[in-house]
Symmetry: C2
Subunit: 348 residues, 2 copies
């Protein structure tokens, strides 16, 4: 999906900030009527098509959230956008615009930044969102990225974390655990490369896992699917820190407990095979791995017939009454309390 750039390397400081922004964003075209005025003024002017808007901001720091040793800049640009769009999708809403602010040290030349913006542009086109503003500045160390995503939604249609009811079914999109194992594969290859720089990695066997790590998608298609199916989820979140951490957020905010059935958690065969290779429990990869950016949501039992035939959606459990705790029901019908071991940038 990504082509290589051919122009000669140019330093960023020789251009200056304003020409740099022009250079990086000139190929971006606004796709939406709601983007009245994009890049080039003090603020973007938007005219939302629905009554309510959604806003989410993330900060990504080199060496904390990404490693350029195995994350190509185009993929990083793509991922920086999609993980933020995922937060809008997690409100059961359609993302419409982003702003992007980056800070880079003098280690990054114009070509490197163009690569990054090419990934941003691909994500904008794929998801039909417009880049409407931002900031480009220098840093004393490494690369820092801040993306703010904006969406719009009809009044009272946004899905919050606090709306689940006792008895509601817990549903997850896609499959879980792959992004975490993709990270393990890339880390292993990086370590081998450090010892032997002639090493040629053969990632074909792990292509799905690596793609899930390097090029995660926001499940805008699931938001559209739920609308088509006439399903209004009662609560929703996206899985950035692992299923365990996210289900606990829904339970806490909705003041409920839950039961998740281990054998219902959707796990790709590649995840099962690779987890074994790493001597890891595939269910644990799904529960604590994170970065899958699938949607986790709840629906009323009456809506079950609307979703049961859909291969993109798995019912993995249900909400239980207040103060009943969060439990994982094992394949042997054992009950284990779910503890959140999601990723924490301050600890890991």
């Amino acid at each position: 999906m990504f082509e290589e750039s051919k122009s000669p390397a140019q330093s960023v400081s020789s251009l200056g900030e304003f020409k740099l922004i022009d250079e990086l964003t000139q190929s971006f075209k606004n796709q939406l009527k709601s983007s009245v005025k994009g890049i080039g003024d003090d603020a973007a002017i938007l005219e939302p098509t629905h009554e309510q808007i959604l806003v989410s901001t993330d900060l990504l720091i080199e060496g904390v959230h990404f490693n350029l040793g195995y994350m190509p800049l185009k993929h990083l640009g793509y991922k920086a956008v999609t993980v933020n769009l995922s937060d809008i999708c997690a409100m059961n809403a359609i993302p419409t615009q982003i702003t992007l602010a980056i800070a880079v040290s003098n280690r990054f030349n114009l070509d490197a930044l163009k690569e990054f913006y090419a990934g941003v542009e691909t994500a904008c086109k794929t998801y039909k969102v417009d880049l409407v503003g931002g900031d480009t500045t220098s840093s004393t160390k490494g690369m820092t990225i801040s993306v703010t995503a904006i969406g719009s939604v009809e009044k009272e249609k946004a899905c919050r974390r606090d709306g689940a009811k006792e008895g509601d079914l817990i549903v997850v999109s896609g499959d879980l655990g792959a992004a975490y194992l993709g990270f393990q594969i890339l880390e292993r290859e990086r370590k081998i490369f450090e010892v032997n720089e002639h090493h040629q990695p053969d990632l074909d066997l792990y292509a799905y896992l690596v793609e899930r790590q390097l090029k995660p998608e926001a499940r805008k298609d699931i938001v559209e699917l739920l609308k088509q199916l006439d399903v209004n989820p009662s609560s929703m979140i996206d899985i950035s820190d692992g299923l365990a951490s996210e289900i606990k957020h829904l339970c806490k905010e909705s003041a409920l407990g839950c039961k998740i059935y281990e054998d219902k958690i959707p796990i790709d065969p590649t995840v099962v095979r690779t987890a074994e290779e790493f001597k890891l429990d595939p269910s644990l990869c799904a529960l604590s791995g994170g970065e899958d950016y699938e949607l986790l949501f709840s629906i009323s039992q009456e809506d079950y017939t609307k979703i049961k035939a859909n291969p993109n959606l798995s019912v993995i459990g249900h909400f239980t009454g207040p103060n009943t705790g969060c439990y994982l029901v094992g394949r042997d019908e054992s009950m284990a309390e779910i503890t959140a071991q999601g990723w924490d940038s301050f600890r890991d």
Copy 2:
């Protein structure tokens, strides 16, 4: 305005990300009906009161945009908010919400972050804006701050940079050059302190300059004043990089030239006196200094009578036809082309 914190120092990593966010934001209360759901979900839900919204994002990097050697954390929190609100005011609009993302190294403990957030909270209260979301993460070096400001405005009322007409008067709010000299004062004190750590700075003489640097305000009051006066500016920008740089932006975007009269540029007597002390030209401080966050805008000549008596507003020149160039008319009636020497993080 800022009280000192009394609680014992606590490390950030011992809390974890979610408790940290709770700890830092629990005292923030939403003030606006348009903030339907703030912190604590995947995205904030807003219900704008007007048809159009405005969005602006900035990234502030320690060692590039601020120096904690003389910038107290509370002031930094305040300034990080106000400089972003200024971008919304610069569209002739009222800011309503912000999101805030920060990344900090392990050099910052909980008390330090609380100080920063106290400044953010003061700014939110002063400007009646709500903090509705964000991100708190670790960094490998120093502190990084990203603020996204949101405002709302009636359709076709937002003031862009490209709307000035030939003959329109150029107006600036407040006075210019003080923030730049405040920075010079603080830099001088820092250098003296490096040599003699018992040095007690006497900043009384320079209080106005230092306050303009450390605690800049967004001119929301000017936006409100213009509405009261029934003046609709034809173009507008805020002065973050210096008058010269900003007037050139207006000229470029509106495809016009301009004449600015040196003797009309509003300069505080403290600026004149201190510029002389530093052997600097006060007009040059106003033209190239930056960080004043005053509003620069244009009005039709018919609106002149509405503003002429106002001590907060100075007419400093007018727009001339296309391709006529941007000129400064000196006190001796000499004409000099205006060159933008605004601050550029990649160069300075």
